[in-house]
């Protein structure tokens, strides 16, 4: 039945038309469909590929940049710390120097004052001594002028005084 029917029997007409239609279809689709479609698809794929590559590159660059940033930031931070430290050191040094200077200055002043006072005191004492001696001489000359003429007792007194003065001087 199956083979008797036209189901599996050769038909030149169908072969002819199938060949014609298929080849025509092949040529038309080739020229007007497959070529532009495949081109568009592959150009899109290229573009996607390139875009992905570019993105990857950008990410790499970003990473490098980020690392650079990190380094710069760290350097800046170090710089800042160093500056701060230096500033503190300088401040302290300056403070201590100032302190020292003022101390030494005040010390010198005090010393000078002391020296001055000492000198004044010594000169004053000398003055006093000179005055006292003058007075004493004056007094003594007066006393001596009156009494030396008299008795021996007074002579003794003068001698004692002189001794005392001698002792004092030493």
């Amino acid at each position: 039945m199956l083979l008797q029917s036209s189901l599996a029997s050769p038909a030149i007409g169908t072969v002819f038309w199938t060949t014609l239609i298929f080849l025509l279809l092949l040529v038309l689709l080739w020229k007007f469909a497959w070529d532009p479609i495949m081109k568009a698809v592959s150009s899109r794929e290229d573009m996607i590929h390139n875009a992905l590559d570019a993105a990857e590159k950008a990410r790499e660059e970003m990473k490098v940049l980020q690392a650079d940033n990190e380094i710069i930031l760290r350097k800046a931070r170090e710089e800042r710390d160093k500056i701060l430290r230096d500033a503190r050191v300088a401040y302290e040094r300056m403070m201590s120097e100032a302190k020292e200077k003022s101390q030494s200055e005040s010390d010198a002043m005090v010393r000078r004052a002391r020296e001055l006072i000492e000198r004044e005191r010594v000169s004053a004492i000398a003055e006093v001594k000179r005055e006292v001696a003058r007075l004493a001489i004056e007094v003594a000359s007066k006393v001596v002028g009156e009494t030396l003429k008299s008795d021996a007792e007074q002579q003794k007194l003068i001698e004692r005084y002189l001794k005392e003065i001698e002792a004092n001087r030493n």
């Binding site: 039945m1 008797q4 029917s5 036209s6 189901l7 599996a8 029997s9 050769p10 038909a11 030149i12 007409g13 169908t14 072969v15 002819f16 038309w17 199938t18 060949t19 239609i21 298929f22 025509l24 279809l25 092949l26 038309l28 689709l29 080739w30 007007f32 469909a33 497959w34 070529d35 532009p36 479609i37 495949m38 568009a40 698809v41 150009s43 899109r44 573009m47």
Partner: protein, 347 residues
């Protein structure tokens, strides 16, 4: 356009008395195999329905015959419908040339001569033309949408077709033919894939102008397999032919056996392609039609729900088969081409 005519033939089948193909309408007796074969086999007319009064509604496709003696004849197949003869030609209903147009003598019987060259636009050819036009419009539209949208992401129908095209490229052509050589064969592989696919799918639609059994026609699959065969042989490189005529590693005294086997192998591959597609699609149609025929065999409307359920089920499977057979044909074509163009392995 194609000179086809729609008409209701006035002649009832019972008039002529030799209308075997229409016998399932005769006397209420239903012949399932004739019913099925009428739908699966190719014919010169596109039968749509038979009315209660035994008149037929059909699309009459043009008959084109070339006879050595009388030259080219083009006329509507309405003239040959239901056993009529026209200009000395009629469709033979029995014998060696059953279903073919043959010369008849005055009493309407085959005169025994060789049938003329029949280049008629038959049902299969017409269905193929419809499918090709649809495919062409579809793909030209797709190409235009690429031109319009440039390289932006595929949209709409483009988004549906592009993965299929890329599937043919990435899963059929490249793995079998190779990265370097596949692009030469892409147009053929894409065309044959979509040609088979669209004909398979349209064959499942049971309304005119669809439903012709195109890829289930052995002549159609023969042409497709022949083209694959020719492409394979013409693109075959030295190593391909050396494997046929002097297979490496085979002792020379075996060659007299090996060469015929290899040559048979060259032909058996496309032959298998031809038979596989034809048999799968025809079998699917036959199963669906058998399930429908059950209703008429049992002559009970209560069989209809069961039949419809199974037909629905079968149609789902046929949908899968439509894709599968298109895939298999293209895949094997790519495989054969790939084998013929493969560079010899380096040891």
């Amino acid at each position: 356009m194609l000179g086809l005519t729609v008409g209701t033939a006035e002649s009832a089948s019972s008039d002529t008395g030799k209308d075997e193909t229409e016998s399932h309408e005769n006397g209420g007796k239903f012949d399932a195999s004739t019913f099925i074969m009428d739908h699966v086999a190719d014919s010169h007319e596109w039968h749509i329905l038979t009315k209660k009064d035994s008149t037929h509604v059909a699309i009459y496709l043009p008959v084109i015959i070339y006879d050595k003696n009388s030259g080219l004849h083009i006329f509507s197949s309405e003239k040959l419908a239901h056993g009529h003869s026209y200009m000395g030609y009629a469709i033979a209903h029995e014998g060696k040339y059953a279903g073919k147009i043959v010369r008849v003598n005055s009493d309407g019987n085959h005169d025994g001569s060789k049938p003329p060259l029949d280049l008629s636009i038959t049902k299969a050819v017409f269905g193929m033309m419809v499918a090709s036009v649809i495919l062409l419009l579809l793909m030209l539209g797709l190409a235009r949408s690429y031109k319009r949208s440039g390289i932006s992401a595929p949209k709409g129908f483009q988004g549906f077709l592009e993965p299929v095209i890329l599937f043919v490229r990435d899963d059929i052509a490249i793995p079998n033919i190779g990265e370097n050589k596949y692009s030469r064969f892409m147009p053929y592989l894409l065309t044959v894939f979509f040609f088979i696919l669209i004909n398979n799918l349209l064959g499942l639609i049971p309304f005119f102008p669809f439903g012709a059994n195109v890829t289930g026609n052995v002549n159609v699959t023969f042409v497709l397999a022949l083209i694959t065969f020719l492409i394979t042989q013409f693109s075959g490189n030295r190593s391909h032919w050396r494997h046929v005529f002097a297979a490496p590693g085979v002792p020379f005294w075996l060659l007299p056996i090996m060469i015929p086997i290899e040559i048979i192998g060259l032909f058996s591959k496309p032959f298998a392609l031809m038979i596989r597609l034809f048999a799968n699609i025809t079998a699917g149609h036959i199963i669906v039609l058998s399930l429908v025929a059950l209703i008429f065999i049992f002559e009970s409307v209560f069989v209809a729900p069961i039949s419809i359920f199974f037909v629905l089920f079968m149609d789902c499977i046929e949908l899968l088969v439509a894709f599968l057979q298109a895939y298999v044909f293209t895949l094997l074509s790519a495989l054969f081409i790939g084998m013929a163009t493969a560079e010899p392995e380096h040891y």
